[in-house]
Symmetry: D2
Subunit: 317 residues, 4 copies
């Protein structure tokens, strides 16, 4: 770390707790976090506050789900909390089990406790198998199950498979998610200014605002990438929040800021956008090497700069 | 209506109930719905099912919030439920009151019942005024308040201002929303194939899928609009849901399908997209006339077609 | 012909004469001209005047040379003489011989008569073999040779190979052109409004003016083609002639106006350009089938129009 | 001059001679050439050979005419002779007089000697006033008149107005050019690597080849300029000469290579083109300040580079 914020006495990682959540499963994939202090928090805001205050080294937060799309709270927080950087991304398959207090049979279930997103993703199964069930919303996937022991009116809960490590529940059904390939993407966020080394299989995350009242501004932004052969893997609009019709864009592109084509696209973006937030360049979770046309090789950019420098300095051709 | 579905015996309008919701406030803006049967439902899915089954003439559903962005459930439903058309859009200012059972004082409030979106939008106020409160999520803004009389552990609820017409509650605080300009956009959806008449202040809503694995496909889509002088007022990506990285786009453009420039852009879209869903052309809620360059006037398109027809038929110049 | 102009009593074809020119060689490729009256004229202006006045059925004129580029006089005439249509294109390899009055030896040649273009294209040979020669310019390749018998001070002339069919000259050297692959493209021009049938290997010629003072107007013009997958095989600017910096563009594109993608691009051009001149769609001289992406097939355009018509007329999806 | 070529013993300027040509009129506009040795040559090739061999300091050559368009010989020479740089541009109004040996009356003129371009530009007047005249082509405007004293069969010659300073001729008619606003643009060419200082009213000349067989390559080239707000004042295609359909582009853009937006566009061009020839940045003859949007100001480019550098070096935001 190159800035002056206090290093926490012990390395701490914040995540959406309690133990058993998908976010914890993501954090388990981080080698550097192994054996360090893990701090379960209640929401994205707390996780990021831990990072900005220096209480935690880094925080794991969900950023996108293959079924539900971008996690708005995360995207909005990254756009508004200054000084954050993404160090890496992690994929966690999302599946659900239906759990109950020991001794409960599936036939007895009338009311189900579930986080709204988990409920939405299991709804097909629930409506087929429990056509007359009622739903009580929960604040997290784990608290849905925990509430069974805290006087909830629910008979069962939708929970992550790892719940049985933490709670004494019976699993009434497995794989109740409607989409067997559902996956959630998490990012590890810190205040570090150091860039992870380029690996050839990298991703760069940005948040870009467009100039006001300029028709074609989005087109112009996309051209900054296409004219450098940089592919977008994600583009999402989020309301800036002050009025209908004003958006910022959350963008992921293939490649690392240390790649010339990406750096040049960033220059173009910076020039045309009233606000560009660089969230980081980091290895892709899928480790897939970024493919691009050889005309966007680093050497091409370097040669062109040398040529221009020669022209400006009056060197003979 | 030009199709064969049964007209409901009495004209019925579905909306997210119960009485008192913002959705009801939107429906109150629809002149044609006045005096008809209104049917409160639990969620967007039920509202649209009422329309597709012919049980309701139309349904009012929230589609976008100036603070939270697009309503994912609505956008996804419009993308997957066939045969729907938007007849009009309606704006409702979003503000909140904190209510409690009669006789409760603000100082007594420890637990607050609130729909997650309402909670997020009031969070600044709640954390400032009730720093130690707990939160119980509710399924709707009205049910949050209703639960106060149904044995909830909550002492207060976040609710729409109109709640006092329906429930005997005390208002502990007004205007607790963090953003005083927050507004939600609703759309009235039916199965009708008839297009609302162009007014000069219209909007056209589309859902567009892009061809797979074609870098620049989003750019090419936007060019279909920009080369016809058609401005986008909304573009949002939503996951198709089968895998990370596959998106469809929810798009609103200025103008009516009966405008030549919009129709021509739709032709271009249809040719380049594997799937374009036309959700309707309808008057803008803000009644603002659509401005566009005179080179995209209807007459220009008609003259060009006449010229081409003359060339193809061998007429003298 | 669909218009009222008088058909010449006998079918007549005009060409840059006299007999022996490359233009005559091009006209010999036209099956329909075989056995008809051929009229040698002095320049492009006379040839086109023959056509517009109805004196000739058609005229053969040079339009482009692989070494010298577009023939300005032809391009400007096609831009300003109304009512002309190109019926076909013809390629003639361009090579030259050095000829002299019978009995002249190469060593005796001090002054060479040559049309300026022929002189430019043979200059390498002439400077190598006749380093001290002088040059007298001629008005055509054939008149250069003919002048040898009309008191010219020249000892030799640069001429087309066919000259020996018409004049009693000795050939002092063959293949003296600097570029052995040089070729000139000719077009056959008439007033007919009938379009040659599409063959799948067609070309469409246009002259396009751009709107004044609109930066990006050329880019916008090119996008009309690129967004429909239409390839340009030629683009040349010509001064409009009233001031420096004002240009029109001579454009050849792959495909026939009866191809949907070409027709749609023409519509777009017509809408954005203050003046588009359609010069004709006709078979390519090289008979090479036009390749294009299947997403620009005729069927795609027709289906999109049917879809739009259905939306506008209120048909069920 | 920064290279090692021998400086001519006396400063010499080459131009298309003899004295009296329009090219001489252009050279008279060059302050630095005043009082130096002027060398009249026969054509563009000789003029440029004088420069590359070091025999002359610079050469004045015609590059574009408002009526005839680009001067092909000049454009092709600049594309193929290496090491040349344009130092400045000069405009000369083009008008013509009809001259004859003293004592000749207009009514006596039957044959007119004229350079083909001058003849083309005076043709309207000649056909109106001398309907039965014949034409003998000349190699230059001055030699057309000179030939009257060298045994030519012509009775009169088309010549520049300045001819009377050099030859004892009678002027039979003035202002016989068909276009009263005709103007020719000349450029002064040297081997110097020093760039003229930016003035705010500059022009940059380039020759650009496009990658083979890449549809959309021209569009991509133009986007390099448009995305940096750089306006093109000239674009002309010239055949590369090896085959039909292969072109290079002669391009003039508004601005100086020392302007950040122009430099950045050059970088983009260099990266995408197999060959870019920088012909120079120099003051515009019309001294008109280049207008461009403030978002392309130098400061914007510099700030973006600083920002990128900060990100790459790990500085705190």
């Amino acid at each position: 770390m190159t800035d002056a914020a206090p290093t926490p006495p012990e390395e701490t990682y914040s995540y959406l707790g309690p133990a058993g959540t998908f976010t914890e499963a993501a954090l388990k994939q981080v080698a550097a976090a192994s054996g360090k202090h893990w701090r379960g928090v209640n929401n994205v805001g707390e996780a990021l506050a831990d990072v900005t205050s220096g209480r935690s080294t880094a925080a794991m937060i969900a950023i996108e789900n293959s079924v539900d799309g971008g996690v708005s709270a995360t995207q909005d927080a990254l756009a508004t909390v200054p000084g954050l950087r993404i160090l890496g991304e992690y994929l966690v398959p999302v599946n659900f089990v239906l759990v109950a207090r020991p001794g409960t049979a599936l036939a007895d279930v009338r009311v189900v406790n579930a986080h709204p997103v988990a409920y939405a993703q299991s709804r097909g199964w629930l409506e087929r198998e429990l056509p007359n069930h009622g739903h009580i919303p929960a604040t997290s996937n784990v608290s849905a199950a925990a509430s069974l022991f805290e006087g909830s009116q629910a008979d069962a809960a939708v929970a992550p498979p790892g719940i049985t490590d933490h709670l004494d529940v019976d699993v009434l059904a497995r794989d109740i998610g409607d989409n067997p390939n559902a996956v959630t993407r998490f990012v590890l966020v810190s205040r570090s200014r150091e860039l992870p080394e380029p690996t050839g299989a990298d991703k760069t995350s940005l948040i870009v605002e467009l100039p006001d009242d300029e028709p074609g501004a989005l087109l112009a932004m996309l051209e900054q990438f296409s004219t450098r052969g940089v592919n977008l893997s994600l583009i999402q609009s989020r309301p800036i929040g002050d009025a209908l019709g004003r958006y910022r864009f959350v963008v992921d592109v293939d490649g690392h800021i240390a790649d010339e084509r990406v750096a040049d696209a960033l220059l173009g973006l910076r020039r045309t956008s009233p606000n560009v937030i660089f969230l980081g360049s980091y290895p892709r979770a899928d480790e897939q090497t970024v493919a691009y046309h050889s005309k966007y090789d680093d050497g091409i950019f370097i040669e062109a700069r040398d040529w221009l420098r020669g022209l400006l300095s009056g060197e003979p051709d």
